[in-house]
């Protein structure tokens, strides 16, 4: 079970969190023309990298904040965690 540092609450066990997917995906802006291909990429296509990955976790049984976690997908090492609005390196 992972031990995730929530920037709001401190280190908490994984079972307080829900995984939320790739944190690098940016939603296209509202009311803006977008090609079918770009929209499809946003809705459906995700990379599944081996190694460092910036991902979203929702601290659902804690502060209910979405946070960004930089984690190695093969070793589970967590390098850094960020608040939702914090700039990532």
């Amino acid at each position: 079970m992972l031990y995730i540092f929530c920037p709001h609450c401190g280190s908490r066990s994984q079972n307080e969190f829900v995984y939320g997917g790739d944190a690098t995906v940016k939603r296209p802006e509202l009311n803006k023309e977008i090609s079918d291909q770009d929209w499809d990429n946003f809705v459906y296509l995700r990379k599944s990298p081996r190694g460092k990955h910036l991902e979203l976790w929702h601290h659902i049984s804690g502060c209910r904040q979405w946070i960004k976690v930089e984690r190695d997908t093969s070793t589970h090492e967590i390098f850094k965690t960020y608040k939702a609005d914090e700039l990532t390196e």
Binding site: M1, L2, R27, L30, Y44, H58
Partner: protein, 998 residues
Amino acid sequence: MSQDFRLDKIGMVNRNKKISFTFNGKKYFGYEGDTIASALIANGVHLVGRSFKYHRPRGFFGVGVDEPYAILQLERNNERDPNIRATEQEIFEGLEVKSVNCWPSVNFDIGAINNFLKMFFPAGFYYKTFMWPPSFWYKIYEPFIRMAAGFGEASIKHDKERYEHKYEYCDLLITGSGPSGLASAYAAAKNGARVILAEDKPRYGGSLLTSDVNIGNQTGVEWSEKIITELKSMSNVIVKNRSQVFGYYDHNMLVMSERIGDHLPKTQKYLPKQRLWYIRAKEVLISSGSIERPLVFGNNDTPGVMLSSAAKEYMKVYGVLVGKKPLIFTNNDSGYETAIEFKKNGVNPLILDTRKEPSSDIISEAKNLGIEIKFSHVVVAAKGYKKVKSADIAKISDNKKDLSNIENIECDCICVSGFWTPSIHLASQSGNKSEFNEKIDAFIPKKSKQKENTIGSANGKFTLEETINEAFNKGYEVSNNITENNNKVSIPTVVEKKSTEHDKFWCVPLPKGKSYKRFLDFQNDVAVTDIELALREGFRSIEHVKRYTTLGMATDQGKTSNLNGLQLVSDIENKVVPQVGHTTFRPPYTPVSIGAIVGREVGKHSKPTRKSPMHDWHEKNNAVFVDAGVWLRPRYYKQGNETLFEASKREAKNVRKNVGVCDVTTLGKIDVKGPDAAEFLNRVYTNAWLKLPVGKARYGVMLREDGIVMDDGTTTRISENHYHMTTTTAQAANVLSHLEYYLQLVWPELNVNVVSTTEQWAGAAIAGPNSRALLMKLFTNTDVSNEALPFMGYKEADLFGIPAKIYRISFSGELAYEVNVESDYGNFMWEKIIEVGKEFQIQPYGTEALSTLRIEMGHVAGSELDGRTIPHDASLEGLVSKKKDFIGKRSLGRSAFIKPDREKIVGVVPLDKTTSIPEGSYIVKDPKAKLPNPKLGHVSASCWSVEYDNPFSLAIIKDGKNMIGQKLFAMSPLKNKTIPVEIVSSHYVDPEGKRVRA
């Protein structure tokens, strides 16, 4: 009752307390502190089971977790516990155990015929023997294999025992209370660290319990008792016995199973049988010790052949002799310690040492005691079927290849020692890549992957002095890093006998013309010939050899078999062991009860039960409940001998005719607040929200980004910047997460907050033509007329002194209101509604009537919004704004979503007006078409229309818009029914929606 093999003056069992138990129906006795193994050996019983494949007789090989054979079935409080190790299970009064894998009995086992059919059971036999002809598989092979597979028999009864989970945090977890565990725990605890010390046996001390050593002028036993007593008295230390740390997981999470009641006749009232500890440790010291390695020779699986360290422990801890004519077969000094112990207890052993001319303190002591020793000698084969009766021994040449002077000598047990294997399982599980140490011919942990260090003999340190020094220093060092304290305790002086090098010899060659089975893996019946065959057949990777031959599998996890197997593979391949590598050690290190893994979360406790504040009233009024997610909701209120069908019809009719009340507390409720709330709702919902006035409600649909409907519900503008959103019961949690996602990550610039208020409000839906009349009597101070409180209006009102909120919304399609009060007043509100409603013929209605009412109105719910439908499919396209953008809008233009014959919701009525259509039925054009019949769609919900008194269903079918009026068929292959139907509008009752506005 005398025990022939019990020693009087030695052992740690409590001689004042005799305990009787039965084994295979026969009564035996032992003493408090005995295991099943020690008590049976004391009674001269060695035959306890049959082996897995060949059904060869099985005795005891080890003394603890290392035991590969003696696996028994335990009966306790009329329940069965399969696969318990006789060497670990302590006896208690009335214990009943029996052998497994034998029929009709352990003494006469029909399955032993396999031993003579070995040619059918070579390595990988399950890929070979049972392959042809294919038709034999189903009727002959599979039942045969099923019968033969596995050891014990699991109980099919509900396990009434209690198991618990516990979460714990500590600075330092130490696994094993041998010399290194005790020393490091003591050093760390004295330096202020929070320490957990776990010991899998009932007694602390590990090897100190059996070795003849001196620490700080005390015997090993005295020293360990002193340290444990002091550790137990410290508030920063948790000391646990009968507790096995069996798994090392990510981020220094370790799991330990504590056996609390397994050794007691009955579980204590306030204690669980077992407790599973999830321990998050800042640092871990693995002090799990080492396991003696077997030597490989002919028939080395015969009962009576066992590890020499086990024989010593049976004497020193349990006061039990494993034999009276022992043969010690060793390649190192450890065997001598066992021989000396035998001699001290009046038994004359014979030592066969594979080495030519070793010399050390221990060997000299053995010589001085007059123990007979034969150097350069080996056991060729054990003789005897159910128990060792004699052994063929021989002189072995210096190059260890040739045997000479083979002779048979009488003996009743053979104690073997092939040196020691560190238990590196936990380190390996943490990700530590081990390295091969030539000096000890075994793997030891290398670089720590997680926050873990291995100490003592688990780290290949086999002298006590090295171990104690390393452990004291590590305990201090690790604790100093965490606590930054500098309290260093002094390291005691150690006195021990010096030993000399071991012999790398491990496998006795076969004499000419003999084909003895020489076993490597005792639990899985893997012999030397099996490994040889696997390699001949081309298996090279050790992982493949393992899977093909089953070497090191199952509960044994290579504890005794691993290294000898690797040695053999390396010898045949002309490699060295590190080139071959070892197989992966997987958790659990020892078997764990399923009950302990599950814990308390069984049956009703597997998830929480949520009840509305009016639950007690429903219960008192004969409600029959249904699980709605984790909520319990009244399905119907039973009157007399009514069936579900009759009751729901009565309740629904009463709503259409008079007035009904339904508990809608379970609906999800979310407060949306902030200056940008309207803008936010406008982006979340498909319809327009910017112009909704205060005091008005609006129905909304929200999509996922892929265009699929996520949820629907009404949202009311309570004040300028305050909205009250409702969701369906099932989606409440998902919708909240969805809103938080967009507010925190996508549009953080919006000044809006959301919070769940589901449990703050109790809700009652009052529906039916009499509902306004009832409301006028409930809220006497408030104007609830059609003009003052129109459809989709909202008002705050006073309910007999209690503040209430009235929403004029309707799911039933009747004139209806939803009244909310704070949860604590829920029951008061409900009782008032029932009391005042009497004169209007009010009746409570449950979810079944609620479904009927919404289905015949064509209102969609979860069965239509099933994660596959877009607004169009549910006839909600009118709510999709063309002007503004919202979540998922871009996806609605996808080609599959705009094709002309896109699925749409319709109503379905059987032509005979009497046959109900099963939910899930297919709608087809031709019932006799060739299968698979091309389907137009499926029936999503069915009811008995109380308005027209005939069955009515909703279906989502291809080109639904143009299907109305057509005669089709509803087919249910499951119920074997084909029903001619007519397609009608989904708005079956009051299609103009006059009633809700009345």
